[in-house]
């Protein structure tokens, strides 16, 4: 046997050994990969659910509260009522005027007030009639036994507000007028921003004190949920006066002083 024949025999034997070893390794790899794929298929739906859950988790407490508040509130005592909402006048952006909309209103004064304020933000008939920023949210609302309401708005009530004495006064007046005209029984209003007593609304209007809320305009307002105890003079003719404790002519501008 020459050296060539020996070499061929050696080559054949080594190839056979290598082939035998390779097929064993391949089998092991394929088995491991198959097991992983099966495991992946089994755990995939669970992983997908976990990712979905993480995606839906509220990033902040305020965001969670906002998600709850953004939806209109529905209560067992809701009655479809004609609610009087105070937005900017079409004739003059310096005035508020009442607009009647159909709104489910609760018999409970707190829920009723929330329904009104959510609608005041969400249902402004046109951008130019808006008094509160569209992105603002009512975070919480309480009424104390003496008729003092506390309305807590998200930061956007300040950051989204056009800066100025007039615009900020109209914003607060639209809230007070709307609460006053729809039988909530509220006598005065304190405004908080993100749970805190802010110094101003957007740099001008003082949030230190309480804002008087006028009593309903007689027959024009829906039936009150609770007897009102306010003896304050209501706004005449529905057009806003911004000095709530006084009566004013029909076309009074916000804050106009009564002659004296």
């Amino acid at each position: 046997m020459g050296w060539r024949a020996r070499w061929r025999r050696f080559e054949r034997s080594t190839k056979w050994e290598a082939g035998k070893a390779l097929s064993k390794g391949l089998k092991t790899t394929i088995a491991i990969l198959t097991a992983m794929v099966v495991l992946g298929l089994i755990t995939l739906p669970g992983l997908r659910e976990a990712v979905q859950r993480l995606r839906n988790t509220p990033r902040t407490e305020e965001q969670a509260r906002r998600e709850v508040m953004q939806e209109p509130i529905s209560t067992p005592t809701d009655v479809q009522a004609k609610a009087q909402m105070f937005w900017l006048s079409t004739a003059s952006a310096n005035l508020l005027e009442p607009t009647v909309i159909s709104l489910p209103l609760s018999a409970d004064p707190v829920l009723r007030s929330k329904q009104l304020l959510i609608a005041l933000i969400a249902r402004a008939p046109a951008p130019e009639k808006r008094t509160l920023p569209a992105e603002a949210n009512l975070l919480a609302f309480y009424i104390q036994p003496d008729g003092t309401a506390i309305a807590d708005f998200s930061d956007e009530i300040a950051s989204g507000m056009p800066s100025g004495i007039l615009s900020e006064q109209l914003a607060v007046e639209s809230i007070a007028q709307t609460l006053g005209a729809n039988g909530t029984g509220i006598r005065q209003l304190k405004i908080l921003v993100h749970g805190q007593g802010a110094e101003t609304l957007a740099g001008h209007l003082d949030l230190y004190g309480l804002f008087p809320v006028p009593s309903p305009l007689g027959a024009a307002a829906p039936a009150p949920a609770k007897a009102t105890a306010s003896g304050k003079t209501p706004a005449a003719g529905g057009i806003v006066r911004t000095k709530p404790a006084r009566s004013a002519p029909n076309n009074a501008e916000p804050g106009r002083q009564a002659p004296h």
Binding site: P162, G164, S167, Q169, E199, Y208, P254, R256
Partner: protein
């Protein structure tokens, strides 16, 4: 009552109302204050300004300048972001309803800082009337009667105090607002002079 404190509102990092064309309330009111200072000094009054440049003293720092003096008049100047352009509104503080937990004065006869304006509401209203009449004569469409609003800056000033708000930063450029400056300064100076005369004669 020969000293007037002029307060150009905002400043520094706080531009106040800002128009889409870039007009900043803080810049406009500073130029108004400079013009008004000249007109008031021409009427024989001394003037201090709460800020001379683009800085932003706090509400209390601005009030402190007035409360450290006797016999002063305080005027805070603003430009709105809304409202019909070319009009001027003058505000005084209304009688405010306070929360029940607000502390009483620490000593009888002392005025709490956070309600320093409460003893001057009638005088401030009179000053607002005089200024608003001047504004109605100069700027067409402006009201002849003044307004009331709980303006934060006014509450802590222990002196006759008003806020003047010009409409508005929502203009294509500053030309119209700048044109209002001399009329505003002259009208306010005349009204302040009249108020000073009434006050010194014991009128209310």
């Amino acid at each position: 009552m020969g000293l007037v404190i002029l307060d150009p509102a905002h400043g520094g990092a706080d531009p106040g109302a800002r128009g889409s064309s870039g007009i900043a309330e803080s810049d406009v009111v500073l130029s108004y204050a400079r013009l008004l200072r000249i007109s008031l000094e021409a009427q024989g009054m001394r003037v201090l300004m709460t800020r001379q440049a683009n800085d932003d003293p706090s509400f209390d720092d601005r009030s402190r300048l007035a409360n450290a003096q006797r016999g002063v008049i305080f005027i805070t100047l603003h430009v709105s972001s809304t409202g019909q352009p070319g009009r001027v509104r003058v505000y005084s503080l209304p009688r405010m309803v306070l929360p029940q937990n607000v502390a009483l004065a620490p000593h009888a006869g002392l005025l709490p800082w956070d309600r320093a304006q409460f003893n001057f509401i009638d005088q401030s209203k009179r000053l607002a009337e005089l200024i608003q009449i001047q504004m109605a004569q100069r700027f067409q469409g402006s009201s002849e009667t003044p307004f009331e609003a709980p303006v934060r800056q006014l509450r802590t000033v222990g002196a006759p105090a008003v806020a003047i708000e010009v409409s508005s930063v929502s203009l294509p450029d500053r030309t119209r607002l700048d044109q209002m400056g001399p009329g505003l300064a002259d009208g306010v100076a005349r009204a302040v002079a009249a108020f000073r005369t009434i006050y010194e004669m014991g009128g209310r």
